[in-house]
């Protein structure tokens, strides 16, 4: 399916197809709603391209199969939804500690606990602040349309390989379940990917030109563990400098700035149109990478002279809100609209909140 014609596809299936087109040939997963269309698509399509789809006995096993495949040098992915990502979090920490590249999709659903199967943005903290144990980071992409999700997949794999880190796509269940017209035209950004000379593929003690491969996150001497952490932190700093993606919409000279990611950002754009009819100039800052967070861009948009205040909108109790407040650093008032669980705010609610801020 490499034609460039637009076709109507469900988000989950489009992401799976984009992964195959990005050269992913190994998928390990476990059923959970609302992301089942990804493993189902992979089960049908992987055999046709000489790839492997394998249903694991649990999310725990799936991420450890990813660890093994990544350690063997493969381009590999898994996908799940919130409770399943919690189960994978141990493994993600090991992937990060062993400096392995992989791609993970989280189609967020309502929580905590078993929660709901409706869309949510309650896993922002888990994705951007850790989730698993230890000082590690993932690059986290938050698409707001099916097309954008497709376009980010190749980039996600390339970034994972470039920095040898796990990369996550953090999408809400709406992105996964809705159908939109998409085209698969996005090519690699031309990154020169490093060779995987570290992979464990079999070592000949007389003939191999590389060192014996040891894929490992155990550094029992604290000096050695410090070295690993210094290496990781240096990499994260480089990522923060080079890999931030953000959309600034209508922000210049705006009176109010909305901050939102994913599906909610699109509702914000509708609210901005409604506000314009009432003569209120509203802009939107939409992080596309929620880690690395576009701290400077958020600050600069909100700290403008024209801006009276910012409103963060999320399907959560206010998680990205904290990063926005850090970026704004008290220079302007920052308010919040959103509910935890799966209650999606409407454009009218957002407009009313903006009007309320003006009073």
């Amino acid at each position: 399916m490499t034609n460039t014609k637009k076709q109507l596809m469900k988000g989950c299936e489009a992401i799976a197809e984009a992964a195959i087109q990005a050269g992913c040939r190994y998928f390990f997963g476990y059923p959970i709603t609302p992301q089942n269309d990804i493993p189902e698509y992979m089960a049908a399509q992987m055999p046709k391209v000489g790839g492997t789809y394998l249903q694991a006995e649990s999310e725990v096993a799936a991420i450890n199969m990813v660890y093994g495949a990544a350690g063997a040098g493969a381009r590999v992915m898994t996908s799940s939804s919130s409770p399943g990502i919690s189960l994978k979090s141990e493994g993600i920490s090991y992937v990060a500690g062993a400096e392995l590249p992989c791609f993970i999709v989280n189609m967020m659903r309502g929580g905590p606990g078993l929660g709901s199967i409706q869309a949510s943005q309650g896993d922002y903290f888990q994705a951007t602040k850790g989730g698993g144990h230890g000082d590690y980071k993932m690059v986290v992409y938050a698409p707001s349309s099916v097309q954008e999700a497709v376009d980010l997949v190749q980039e996600a794999f390339d970034v994972a390989d470039t920095y040898r880190i796990p990369v996550m796509m953090l999408a809400d269940g709406i992105i996964g379940q809705m159908m939109e017209p998409v085209e698969f035209t996005k090519k690699s950004e031309g990154r020169k990917l490093p060779e995987k000379t570290w992979a464990a593929t079999g070592w000949d003690r007389e003939k191999s030109t590389r060192e014996r491969a040891v894929i490992n996150s155990l550094y029992i001497e604290h000096e050695e563990l410090q070295e690993l952490n210094d290496r990781l932190q240096a990499r994260y700093k480089e990522i923060q400098e080079k890999e931030v993606k953000v959309e600034l919409y209508n922000t210049e000279g705006a009176e109010y700035i909305l901050c939102a990611y994913g599906t909610v950002a699109r509702i914000c754009k509708s609210a901005i149109a409604l506000a314009a009819k009432k003569g209120i100039k509203v802009g939107l800052v939409r992080p596309i990478t929620v880690w690395p967070f576009p701290t400077k861009q958020v600050h600069d948009a909100i700290a403008q002279k024209s801006v009276k205040g910012a409103l963060v909108v999320e399907i959560s109790a206010g998680q990205m809100l904290e990063d926005i407040k850090i970026a704004v650093n008290g220079e302007k008032p920052v308010d919040f609209l959103g509910k935890p669980g799966s209650i999606v705010p409407t454009a009218e609610e957002i407009l009313n909140k903006i009007i309320e801020l003006g009073r």
């Binding site: 199969m65 093994g68 464990a200 070592w203 014996r212 490992n216």
Partner: protein
């Protein structure tokens, strides 16, 4: 002078961290010799556990991966599916395999995963300081069964080899012991057979090795070998449990 025995080059020269008299060193040598004799060192991948053998990647002179506690069979699955020509084995203890990792080992066997597992059963958690394992014998005292294992309270010891032998996807399952020269020779044969099963693409293979833990059993090495023979072997009978 004629050389009648030398260390296999599939073991590194690193000094092992195991306690004096521990069976791990013996089993490491048997595994490495089997790999060497089969001529597959250049395509062998070791997946090592969390437990006493956590540093095994320092000792096996082949490409290696360290797995999270209990997850070695899943990691090995990922490796084998990517490079089916690799000879992939996991080396796991009884806490790792028979407690936290039961789902992974059962399903690796169930899928008929073409990997080999070397399972060390010494009836105790060694690395963490002698706690009760699923394989701890009834009445056996450990730091978390200080009055002896009570089966009414925490069940009877689990027989992994027999359990996995009932699974359709397992191709070769044998239990051996390393308590005497004769049994060590048999253990070596079993380990080699398990790797041959993998090389022949027949399915999942596992060798359960009854071993000792003098430190945490509170015995001398000689006493521990005697205890193994008198207490473990009667409950965990040796022999081939499955062969296809």
């Amino acid at each position: 002078m004629e050389t009648v025995f030398k260390k296999t080059p599939v073991l590194t020269d690193a000094v092992m961290h195991y306690c004096p008299g521990c069976g791990h060193g013996i089993v490491h040598r048997l595994v490495a010799e089997a790999i060497d004799e089969l001529g597959v060192a250049n395509k062998a991948i070791a997946v090592v556990p969390v437990g006493c053998a956590v540093f095994a990647y320092r000792y096996f002179n082949i490409d290696s991966m360290e797995a999270a506690h209990g997850r070695a069979p899943a990691v090995a699955t990922g490796i084998k599916r990517v490079n089916p020509d690799n000879v992939v084995f996991t080396y796991q203890g009884d806490g790792d395999l028979a407690s936290i990792g039961t789902a992974e080992i059962v399903h690796a066997a169930h899928r008929g995963e073409k990997i080999t597992t070397i399972f060390i059963n010494n009836a105790i958690y060694g690395m963490t300081g002698g706690q009760m394992a699923p394989t701890t014998l009834v009445g056996q005292k450990t730091t978390t069964s200080p009055y002896g294992r009570d089966k009414e309270h925490c069940g009877s010891p689990i027989r992994i080899a027999e359990m996995l032998a009932t699974i359709e996807g397992s191709a070769y399952i044998e239990r051996v012991a390393v308590n005497s020269p004769g049994n060590i020779i048999k253990a070596k044969k079993a380990i080699k057979k398990a790797f041959e099963t993998q090389l022949a693409g027949k399915g999942f293979s596992l060798v359960e090795v009854l071993s000792n833990c003098p430190t945490n059993w509170g015995m001398s090495p000689a006493e521990s070998m005697k205890w193994l023979e008198e207490n473990m072997i009667p409950y965990y009978p040796l022999g081939v449990k499955k062969e296809v």
